[in-house]
């Protein structure tokens, strides 16, 4: 097993060397993760109201200025990143878990189970996500938990479809036929043969799904349907910024840029992971 892992890591490094933008994206992601973890080191508490310095532009004291309550904008953006990343990662965990489970079961067992699960996927995906997520969120108490649940529970359909397609093709491969013909038990066929083959799809789907969850969260928060005060995420900061666009345009720059770069970086990470984990089925 060790040999295989080393090979993957080496491939990953090679891919990073070849692909400069991907390397930059990865560094950015690590950076943004670190600074949102260590955001508390900032000299300004995120909620410290300072009426003497309201809506100040960028300065040496406040690198990205202050908001309408005089809070340090840079600090708020770092704390916002915490929320956005938390939503992204937790929602991804929920959504890919459901997606992989449903996809594998559906693809492997086929027949009625497949039919039922896929029709359910059809039904849920018939409702545009924006509508679905907002409708569900009005039945929950708004907040961080609600938004994670809502995004996680209603965005797994595309992962399920991908994993199902992958499972369908894997289960016809001859090594799976061999395992079946040798009387390998069902759980073991799934664990030894199906899951490893589906894993790459899962990895790629999860990075993309973090990116999507961050985008969704920001859109919902921007509409005022997501993260509520006193918490703030990049999306809700932009909602705030919209009102001050005329007199404090700098407020729109930082959170927006952070969203774009984070989402972009996760997508790039997905791209290189795709290149690395795709199995070398042919020796050519």
């Amino acid at each position: 097993m060790a040999g295989k892992k080393n090979r993957r890591i080496k491939q990953f490094k090679d891919e990073l060397k070849r692909n400069k933008t991907a390397a930059i994206a990865l560094i950015f992601l690590i950076l943004i993760l670190l600074i949102s973890i260590f955001a508390f080191l900032s000299p300004y508490p995120p909620d410290q109201v300072d009426v003497t310095s309201v809506l100040q532009g960028p300065s040496a004291d406040h690198w990205f200025g202050t908001d309408e309550l005089g809070r340090d904008y840079f600090t708020r953006a770092l704390f916002g990143g915490r929320i956005s990343l938390t939503v992204g990662i937790l929602a991804m965990l929920i959504s890919t878990s459901i997606g992989v489970l449903v996809g594998t079961i559906s693809g492997y067992f086929g027949g009625r189970i497949d039919n039922f699960l896929m029709r359910s996927v059809d039904v849920i995906s018939s409702i545009p996500w924006m509508i679905l997520v907002t409708v569900v969120s009005i039945y929950l108490t708004p907040g961080l938990k609600a938004i994670i649940l809502v995004i996680g529970l209603f965005t797994w359909m595309s992962t399920a479809r991908l994993v199902r397609a992958e499972t369908l093709s894997v289960k016809e491969r001859e090594y799976v036929l061999y395992a079946k013909s040798s009387g390998q038990s069902l759980p073991k066929v799934i664990i030894k043969h199906i899951i490893p083959a589906v894993f790459p799809t899962f990895i790629v789907a999860s990075t993309v799904s973090i990116a999507n969850a961050i985008l969704m969260e920001s859109a919902l928060s921007f509409l005022g349907l997501g993260i509520q005060q006193p918490l703030s995420s990049w999306g809700s900061m932009l909602q705030n910024a919209q009102g001050n666009l005329g007199n404090a345009p700098y407020m729109a720059i930082l959170p927006g840029l952070l969203i774009v770069l984070t989402v972009y970086s996760f997508n790039r990470l997905g791209d290189i992971l795709r290149a690395v984990v795709e199995p070398k089925t042919s020796g050519k």
Binding site: E174, Y178, K180, G183, S185, P279, G283
Partner: protein, 326 residues
């Protein structure tokens, strides 16, 4: 000799139908009769070849024998016991006794497992050996198929096609089976590598007293390795005979056509031989509901061929044919 031969496999009236995706409106369910009422047997220690063109159902037959597919009806006797309707648990002891070798050396090995893990799979299922004992078995079997002990740590993509096929064979032989189904096991290999694998299969057969079902489309290879051959056309076996006799005295018009279509690797003979090239192509298996399925391409077709499905007849000794001409 013939009288004392023991049958390892006996197949009676085996059918395997696959349902076609039915549309909402057609009342009668359409099926593809991939294997349609097939009977034959395989003696212990022999190689039975199964030839036919693509879509004739030879692979389905092999996979149904192995119970990878559930038969629609019919019997599959394995060493005197009908295994056609056994459930998974009851099948387990028989699964230990029969193994499969597949066509594609690329997709028949799990790319995420190393050679040791791959060969260990059947051992883990069917033996109570400890991990260290299994490792010994794997070392032995690798040597038998011409690979090295060090190869155990490697992954499938590090091998060439021929070597991969050896790994597949090692996996099949690890638990000392009696019956091996070779499903187009050499079709994907280069000519020079095919010979390596064929020779190895022959050696292993005499060494381990194996019985083979050799499924392939390459008639010359099948003839080389088989003692007896069955020729399939659209789900039916149309002729069964000893392999030399099949070559020298083919009875069924389809066998004749198939034989004369093989390009002979000998220029003078190739130029002198009169080739009977059959016209037309394989009809859809759904269309041919009644009568002989070969009649649309048969140069000798008679009115009866359209009405009555010819039954398998013993012509002499071990030569059987399903044709109204005999």
């Amino acid at each position: 000799m013939t009288e004392t031969k023991e049958k390892l496999i006996e197949v009676n009236n085996l059918k395997k139908y696959f349902p076609l995706k039915t549309s909402l409106f057609s009342k009668n369910k359409q099926v593809v009769k991939a294997v349609d009422d097939v009977s034959f047997h395989i003696f212990k220690g022999e190689t039975f070849g199964l030839v036919g063109e693509s879509g004739c159902g030879k692979s389905t037959l092999g996979r149904t024998l192995n119970r990878l597919y559930d038969p629609t009806s019919g019997e599959i006797q394995f060493d005197g016991k009908d295994i056609a309707n056994l459930n998974n648990k009851e099948l387990q002891p028989y699964r230990k006794r029969m193994q499969m070798i597949f066509q594609d050396p690329y997709s028949s090995l799990n790319p995420y497992m190393n050679v040791e893990e791959i060969i260990d799979e059947p051992l883990e299922i069917h033996t109570t050996l400890l991990k260290s004992e299994r490792k010994e078995v794997i070392t032995d079997i690798l040597e038998k198929v011409g690979l090295k002990k060090e190869d155990m740590e490697k992954f499938p993509h590090e091998f060439s096609g021929g070597q991969r096929q050896r790994i597949g064979i090692a996996r099949a032989l690890a638990i000392n089976p009696e019956f091996i189904i070779c499903d187009e096991a050499i079709s994907a290999l280069d000519v020079s590598i095919q010979a390596q694998v064929i020779n190895m299969l022959e050696d292993l057969q005499s060494e381990m007293k194996l019985t083979y079902l050799f499924v392939a489309h390459d008639l010359s290879m099948v003839r080389h390795i088989s003692d007896r051959i069955g020729v399939m056309y659209l789900g039916k076996i149309v002729e069964i005979s000893k392999s030399d006799e099949l070559y020298h005295k083919p009875l069924h018009p389809y066998t004749q056509a198939l034989l004369s279509a093989i390009p002979i690797p000998d220029p003078i003979k190739a130029q002198n031989s009169k080739r009977e090239i059959i016209t037309g192509e394989l009809p859809s298996p759904i269309e041919m509901e009644t009568g002989c399925r070969f009649r649309s391409r048969c140069p000798f077709a008679k009115p009866i061929c359209a009405e009555v499905d010819p039954q398998m007849k013993q012509v002499d000794g071990e030569h059987f044919v399903a044709c109204h001409l005999y």
